[in-house]
Structures are given as structure tokens and as C-alpha cells.
Amino acid sequence: MEGYELVRRAQAGDARAFTTLVRHHERSLYATAYAITRSQWDAADAVQDALADAYAGIRSLRDPDRFGAWVSRIVVNECNTLLRKRVRVVPMEEPPEPQAFVWDGPEDGLDLMRAVHGLSPDHREVVALRYFRDMKLGEIAEVLGCPTGTVKSRLNRAVASLEAAMCPRTEEEVSR
């Protein structure tokens, strides 16, 4: 069943359709929340809470095709709420082996996530929405409530930082 049809059914109160829909999105939503919160447990909480909100509010979603962007926005908001609460809390050391999730990716993939965690909050957000949630500049701008140009420059800088972290240049290279 197509996403559009699943959303329509979920809006009509079909819990099973909502569950199927969630299965399509939960991994990348979790990746997004983990990138932003930098905590496996906070990410799990944020996704759970966001999906509960999405389930309660899905009737208010006008355009079923926008479900992906809509639920991304709810997750980002949940993450930021959690982060604000965490300001005074000493961050817990992330365990060397994942506990809140099962890793189903390339062996060195978690190194890349650690590099993402090294970015500033603004940069983590745009990277997650762009590459985990596969969103366009305009959509990200809408979710974050900032101009497209801001998203673009954040993404450029974030990707440059990740390049530097993942493959430090050996030769001194001068652009242009």
C-alpha cells in the first residue's frame, strides 16, 4: 500500500495503517532523533512521544503527501524539548555498544554518527533532516522556521566539517 493511502486510512482511525506507516519511517526518525539528541535513550523517548503525538493528531494533517515532513517536524520539536530539559543534566556516557537500538548498517557506520554528534546543534539538525529524512532545502526551512539560505549555508558548513572529520586531507589543497 502506498504511503498516501496509509495516511488516509490512519486518518480514518485505522490503527494498523498507522503502524505500517510508522514502520516505514521509524528507522530514519530514530536516526534523526539520535543525531540531534546524541543520546540513544533520549532518541527513543523523542520518537515514541512524537509518534504518539502524530497518532493523536493525524486527522489534522491536511495533505497526506506531507506526512514525512510533518512527522519529521514533530520529532525535531520533541528532540529540542528534550534538549532544553537536559541543559542542566550532566550527559551520560554513550555505551560503546548500542543498547536502545540494533545496528543494521556498515561496520564503521557508527563512526560517522559520532562525527555527526560532534557538530553544533544547528548543524546536526540540518544534516539529519537532509540525509536521514531525505528532505529538500525548502522543506527543512519550513520545519525549522528559518530561511532557505540559512539551511543551505548550514548544510554546506556541516558537510565540510564531516568531510574534515572523516577524511582529513593529506595534501594541502587550495580551491580555485
Binding site: G13, A15, F18, T19, V22, E26, R27, S28, Y30, A31, A43, A44, V47, Q48, L51, D53, Y55, A56, G57, R59, S60, L61, R62, W70, R73, I74, N77, T81, Q99, A100, F101, V102, W103, D104, G105, P106, G109, L112, M113, V116, R130, Y131, F132, D134, K136, L137, E142, G145, K152, L155, N156, V159, L162, E163, M166, C167, E173, V174, S175, R176
Partner: protein, 262 residues
């Protein structure tokens, strides 16, 4: 396109988020500029790795929708929302704003009035469509908010109309016919006297205001406002909507018409 233009667009180019014309120009530049081609290769590799882990996290706690959760937030947040949002924003009624068949079967008014309301509802719907809906956290709750183009109504005017609609609904659930009468025009009073059962609602303890529109002012001076709500009575399997026509008479806002909508 020079190198710095290309570098600025590389990320968007790789994410396929540039126009076809830009894409061709960038590709053309990459074909003849070694330095940019190398930069492209580095960025492309990191981007590919990022995309490669987007589906790699399998959360241990999987979300299972709980039927009871669908009842939405506890009643009352709309009041806060109005206080916060009265000036430039309102909650969107993003549900169906047209008058569906079910409303026509209800014993209110005549079909002609529904048609007139439907025409105006379409105008309003179009306005709502053009607005950007975003979710905002208000006191920790996610609320659907709409960025409205400022202008139409003064904030206190909009707030008064919203307030009247909500007072009216509360009186309906309180079964307070005298209060309803006091909030109505002569036309509404007459209808209320003839069919009080159409106005009084049950299931007050589950009353939840879900969403409401920014009031719109029709050409004839009537305010239109639609409120979506839930209760614990017969209608509790889903939200429904009350459509209001409100008039300003001798400095007082009064309900001229109330219809139910699915």
C-alpha cells in the same frame, strides 16, 4: 559559473536539489575543473555514507498506537493558545471545512443556507490552504498553528469571535439554554426555542477543543468561524465541527447561526 559558485552549490547538486539548468552548469564545470571535481568526490562520498546509515538504526522500542491515545490533549489548551496567538496566528481547522452531507440531514435552517455557507467556506478553505501550518510547542503541547497574513481582523476582534464560539459550545455542553439564548441573535433565539434539542450536547466531561479557524469576515459583515472538537458522548468516535456565523450587533458579538459538520 565560477569555482566558488560551484562549491556553494555542490551539496545541493549532490542531493539533487538544484534546477536542471544549474545541474547542467555544475556538471559542465566539474568536467573541466580538477579542483572542484575533487571537492565533489569528497562531498559525494560523505553524503553517500550518511545516506547509508539512515536506515541502520533499528529502535528496540517499537511504537504501537494505543487506541485510547487518540482522544487528544486534555481540554483547555485552546484557551491558552488564544491568549498566545490572538495577534497574528490562529489554530488551523485543517479538517474538512465544507458542509458535508451529514450536516444537510440535520434539522437546522434550510438547504439554501448551507449552500451559502458552503460557498463562503470554500473561500475560507482556500485562505487556509495558502497558510503555512506549523507545529509549535505551547506549554509542552504540540499545537497546530497557522501563519496568517495579518490584516483582516484586529486581534481583539478575532479573539472576541473565538471566545464567543467557545463560550457558546461550553454552554451547549452545560445544557444552559438561557446562556445560549443570551449569546444569540433573534434568529438564533427563534431556532433555539423551536429546537432546543439540537443545541444541547452531552458528554461534557470529555469535551476537547481540537482546532479552530481564524475568524473570517464575509462581505455582508458576518463572521465565520469553525471549531473542531470532541466529547465523550455519541460523537466521540471522531472529532466533529461546529460552524458559526457571528454578527456584531450594537457592539455585542452574537451567534446568528450554528451548524454541525462532520
Amino acid at each position: 559559473m565560477n569555482c566558488s559558485d560551484v562549491r556553494d552549490q555542490l551539496e545541493a547538486y549532490i542531493a539533487d536539489d538544484v534546477t536542471d539548468v544549474e545541474s547542467m552548469r555544475i556538471a559542465e564545470h566539474l568536467g573541466r575543473c580538477e579542483s572542484c571535481a575533487a571537492a565533489y568526490e569528497r562531498t559525494r562520498s560523505v553524503v553517500a555514507d550518511l545516506k547509508g546509515i539512515s536506515e541502520a538504526f533499528v529502535p528496540r522500542d517499537r511504537f504501537v498506537p494505543h487506541p485510547a491515545y487518540g482522544t487528544g490533549p486534555a481540554g483547555g489548551w485552546v484557551w491558552r493558545t488564544i491568549a498566545v496567538a490572538a495577534s497574528a496566528v490562529a489554530i488551523a481547522a485543517v479538517g474538512a471545512l465544507s458542509v458535508p452531507a451529514i450536516a444537510r440531514e440535520l434539522p437546522f435552517g434550510v438547504a439554501k443556507e448551507f449552500d451559502a455557507l458552503e460557498d463562503r467556506a470554500e473561500d475560507l478553505q482556500q485562505q487556509v490552504d495558502e497558510l503555512t501550518v506549523r507545529l509549535e510547542a505551547i506549554d509542552g503541547e504540540q499545537v497546530a498553528m497557522v501563519d496568517t497574513t495579518p490584516g483582516d481582523l484586529a486581534p481583539e476582534e478575532a479573539a472576541a469571535v473565538q471566545q464567543l464560539a467557545m463560550d457558546f459550545i461550553r454552554a451547549q455542553y452545560a445544557g444552559d439554554v438561557a446562556a445560549l439564548e443570551a449569546m444569540g441573535t433573534d434568529r438564533l433565539k427563534a431556532d433555539l426555542a423551536a429546537r432546543p434539542g439540537d443545541y444541547v450536547r452531552e458528554g461534557a466531561e470529555g469535551l476537547t477543543f481540537a482546532q479552530m479557524t481564524e475568524p473570517a469576515l464575509a462581505e455582508d459583515g458576518t463572521y465565520l468561524i469553525f471549531v473542531r472538537l470532541m466529547d465523550s458522548g455519541d460523537w466521540n468516535e471522531s472529532q466533529y465541527q461546529e460552524d458559526f456565523e457571528i454578527k456584531l450587533i450594537d457592539g455585542r458579538y452574537l451567534v446568528d447561526f450554528m451548524g454541525m459538520d462532520a
